[in-house]
């Protein structure tokens, strides 16, 4: 036992946690500073006056009142993006190829997990479950979603990408787009054949919808509530666990060393006795597992899913991977958190700051604007310069 404990590389367990805390706090502080200073600057202008007319609250108070919730929401979605982005970035690191179908692998994970919970709910198990059992079922759903998504990712690689290895760059990319479209309609077909409609709602059970309130701070006439919903804690907590696990796998195990070797130089890795095809399959498996788990977590957070649910999260996660520096795992983490924050802040405050001219309906294209800006000014991404580990 002690020998086993001794072999654990504690540094590789602590380092990613430290990074996550740093990135979360940093991006939260940065975005809050921008929002608050904008609010202070605009408070005296027509923007502040119109808000005063409507809700009788100053722009600064309004910003502060919403800030805790916005930060928590941003973090939650940011960690989901990070988990998906890791799938993109790992595959890109190994094959230099954008796995366009990753967003559908995410969607399949979400559907499998939610279908399990719906089935359990239909049997009446969920309604009477104790708190502990509710968590057990949720974990079961996540694991099942992970397995389905991981298996699918490996299968897709085997069928649609491996035969094309060595072809020109666009060929596997077009194939991946095809797989993505195909999977969307296959999900829709299966779902509409089994139940007549293709949307699924996550059943409510356990205490996931309740909120933990830490306290209230008086702000002018209203009160600032400090609290967090259980859902968000679960999403963030599971994402952190998975990301730490992945980091450990890649940076502190033999298999991880093989993955890094293949990413660095495929022919040489193969000469060193590494089975390159197996490592590539493994990369897809790991990416798929993360994507599937992210899918179930996404469903938990947003409740409603449809076969096209993967499209936007997938694109944003890809943006996050590029933002952080594609092929770089720490970068994907940073990119995911930053993008989640940016998007949530923009979605919550843009409407107020522009007097309703451009509100949250532009949230989805916000990511693309960032993507274009990053690609123009810093194509290697935020952390692309010093590639510490390319996995």
């Amino acid at each position: 036992m002690i020998r086993f404990l001794k072999r654990i590389n504690v540094y590789e367990l602590v380092r990613p946690v430290g990074q996550m805390v740093l990135f979360s706090l940093g991006s939260a502080a940065f975005m809050s500073a921008i929002a608050i200073s904008l609010a202070l600057a605009l408070d005296g202008t027509a923007v502040g006056a119109s808000l005063m007319d409507k809700y009788n609250v100053s722009l600064y108070t309004y910003t502060m009142l919403n800030l805790p919730q916005v930060i928590i929401d941003g973090l939650t979605i940011g960690f989901v993006y990070a988990a998906i982005a890791l799938g993109y970035t790992m595959v890109y690191g190994v094959l230099e190829f954008i796995n366009f179908a990753h967003s559908e692998i995410f969607a399949v994970g979400a559907f499998v997990g939610v279908e399990l919970l719906i089935a359990l709910d239909g049997m009446g198990i969920l309604a009477g479950a104790s708190l502990g059992m509710a968590y057990a079922y949720l974990i079961l759903a996540i694991i099942l979603g992970m397995m389905a998504a991981g298996g699918l990712a490996v299968a897709v690689e085997r069928v649609a990408y491996r035969p094309l290895r060595g072809a020109s760059r666009l060929v596997p990319l077009i194939s991946a787009i095809g797989v993505s479209f195909l999977l969307q309609d296959v999900i829709r077909l299966v779902e509409s054949l089994t139940s007549g409609q293709f949307n699924r709602i996550m059943p409510t059970f356990g205490n996931f919808d309740s909120r933990i309130v830490f306290g209230k701070i008086a702000m002018g006439t209203s009160k600032l509530t400090l609290g967090i919903s259980v859902k968000s804690i679960i999403v963030i907590g599971s994402a952190v666990l998975m990301l730490v696990g992945l980091n450990y796998l890649v940076n502190a195990t033999r298999v991880g060393k093989a993955i890094r070797a293949v990413a660095q130089d495929r022919p040489t890795a193969s000469l060193m006795g590494i089975n390159v095809n197996r490592i590539i399959s493994l990369t897809f498996l790991v990416g798929g597992l993360l994507g599937g788990a992210a899918g179930v977590l996404y469903a938990l957070k947003f409740t409603r899913i449809d076969p096209f649910v993967g499209f936007f999260p997938g694109l944003k996660a890809f943006t996050a991977a590029v933002l952080g520096g594609i092929g770089n795992m720490t970068g994907a983490l940073l990119g995911g958190i930053v993008l989640g924050m940016l998007e949530t802040f923009a979605g919550s405050y843009m409407g107020v700051f522009t007097m309703g001219a451009a509100g949250s309906e532009y949230k989805d294209i916000f990511a693309f604007s960032i993507l274009i800006l990053v690609l123009i000014f810093r194509p290697q991404g935020l952390m692309g310069k010093h590639v510490m580990q390319k996995a």
């Binding site: 954008i98 990319l173 054949l193 693309f368």
Partner: protein
């Protein structure tokens, strides 16, 4: 073995007068079948495939040209006037063929994967929709609140001017988007163009405030068409009325006219594409597509050449957009989704990137699959649902089949399957682009 048998058979038949006889026979048989069975999809397919035999059999160029003109300008309009469903299919084929030919310049010649091609189509469509409708006077009204009797901003005949304006504006949009992103590697470009396509769609959806430019999700209607002289309808009826069997209305005549416009655009695109392909630019595109590094080493201005391809492709989409807005008299953001972009890409990939006849074949195949096969399958399923039929072994009554299962809506499945299968089994497409043999004529020099 089977393919070599067919090749042998084709070579046996494709000589001397036999090939002329077969082509003429095919056209006559197709026309006859469609004439006698105006509702049969199969007859229509026989007629449409006569274009293929015209392409594949060796005949003189003059014969090919005359036959193609008769087919496209006489036989097909008559068939369309007899059955307006065919007219719709033919019109869509010609629109998508034009779009696919435009995208072919970007994807096939320059090797740039553009996943947001429909965005330029949308730019053209919204351009004419804004200026050719009452939308200009609705700028300050929220959607649905504008008074009924607003004037039109421009007369319908300004459409002809906007065909040119559409080319210019869409081309400029292409350059503006291309300038920053064309420096990127191919797969980044794909994602950025995809993003741009979404940006245009979201803008079209939401630019109904603060100023109402696009009327939001409801879309803009009515959009004006160029005026149609009365004598055109009378002339068509007096000449072809006997063959068509009934007098056509101005509405059908309009559709015929837009089909002709689309054909004209296709001819222009083919002409431009071929001339460009033969020029210095075309050779630069080939070099860029095959090996970027080598192309730079040869002194080819990479970004400039990519930009040229991007702008040319975009401007053709722009002119088709203007055409679409006028022919439909209604446009909404729905028509410019990501799926449409992938649909056009599917046509290019299926036919063969870089190959003009291939791309046209791809556009026709995908459109017919989409409009006739999938929808026919939907109708068939609906009939089964109405009936009492039961699947024997598993004992499943068709009545219980979900209403959501509507094959006509499963275009993504179709596009996805085509893309994956083509990439794995025939990446060069159904009619691969012939690599041009550029002989240096020593005697001349």
């Amino acid at each position: 073995m089977i393919s070599s048998f067919f090749k042998e058979l084709f070579n046996r038949v494709n000589r001397g007068y036999w090939s002329y006889l077969i082509v003429i026979g095919h056209i006559v048989a197709g026309s006859f079948l469609v004439y006698t069975q105006p509702r049969s999809n199969l007859a229509f397919l026989v007629l449409m495939t006569s274009f293929m035999s015209l392409y594949f059999f060796t005949t003189s160029l003059r014969f090919k040209l005359i036959a193609a003109v008769i087919l496209a300008l006489v036989i097909i309009p008559i068939v369309g006037a007899r059955n307006i469903f065919y007219l719709e299919v033919i019109f869509q084929i010609s629109v998508f063929a034009a779009l696919a030919l435009g995208l072919n310049i970007v994807v096939g010649f320059a090797g740039l994967l553009d996943l947001g091609y429909v965005a330029f189509y949308a730019v053209g469509a919204y351009l004419w929709a804004f200026f050719g409708s009452q939308q200009f006077y609705m700028l300050h009204y929220a959607p649905g609140t504008a008074p009924a009797a607003l004037p039109f901003f421009l007369p319908g005949d300004a459409f002809y001017m906007f065909l040119v304006v559409g080319v210019i504006i869409a081309g400029l949009t292409g350059i503006l988007l291309g300038l920053p992103v064309l420096r990127l590697r191919g797969d980044y470009l794909a994602i950025v163009t995809l993003g741009f396509g979404e940006v245009i769609r979201v803008l079209a959806n939401n630019l109904d405030k603060p100023l109402n430019f696009t009327n939001g999700p409801q879309g803009i209607t009515p959009i004006q068409r160029p005026t149609m002289p009365d004598f055109a309808v009378d002339w068509f009826n007096s000449v072809f009325g006997g063959v068509v069997g009934h007098n056509v209305s101005a509405a059908v005549m309009y559709n015929l006219m837009f089909y002709m416009f689309a054909l004209a655009v296709i001819i222009v695109i083919i002409f431009v594409t071929r001339r460009l392909d033969d020029s210095k630019i075309g050779r630069a595109w080939t070099a860029v597509r095959e090996d970027e590094t080598a192309a730079i080493a040869q002194g080819i201005p990479l970004v400039k050449m990519k930009l040229a391809a991007f702008a040319v492709g975009a401007s053709f989409a722009g002119v088709m957009g203007v055409l679409l807005a006028a022919s439909r008299t209604f446009i909404s953001p729905e028509s410019f989704s990501f799926m449409q972009s992938i649909g056009v890409l599917t046509m290019v990939i299926l036919g063969g990137a870089g190959s003009i006849p291939g791309v046209i074949l791809g556009a026709a195949t995908v459109t017919i699959l989409n409009l006739q096969v999938l929808q026919g399958f939907s109708l068939y399923l609906n009939e089964l649902r109405q009936s009492d039929a039961v699947i024997p072994i598993i004992n499943f009554a068709w009545k219980d089949l979900s209403n959501q299962l509507d094959p006509a809506k499963y275009q993504r499945l179709l596009f996805g399957l085509i893309l994956v299968l083509m990439m794995i089994f025939r990446p060069a497409g159904l009619i691969p682009a012939a690599r041009r043999k550029r002989k240096i004529d020593l005697e001349e020099n």
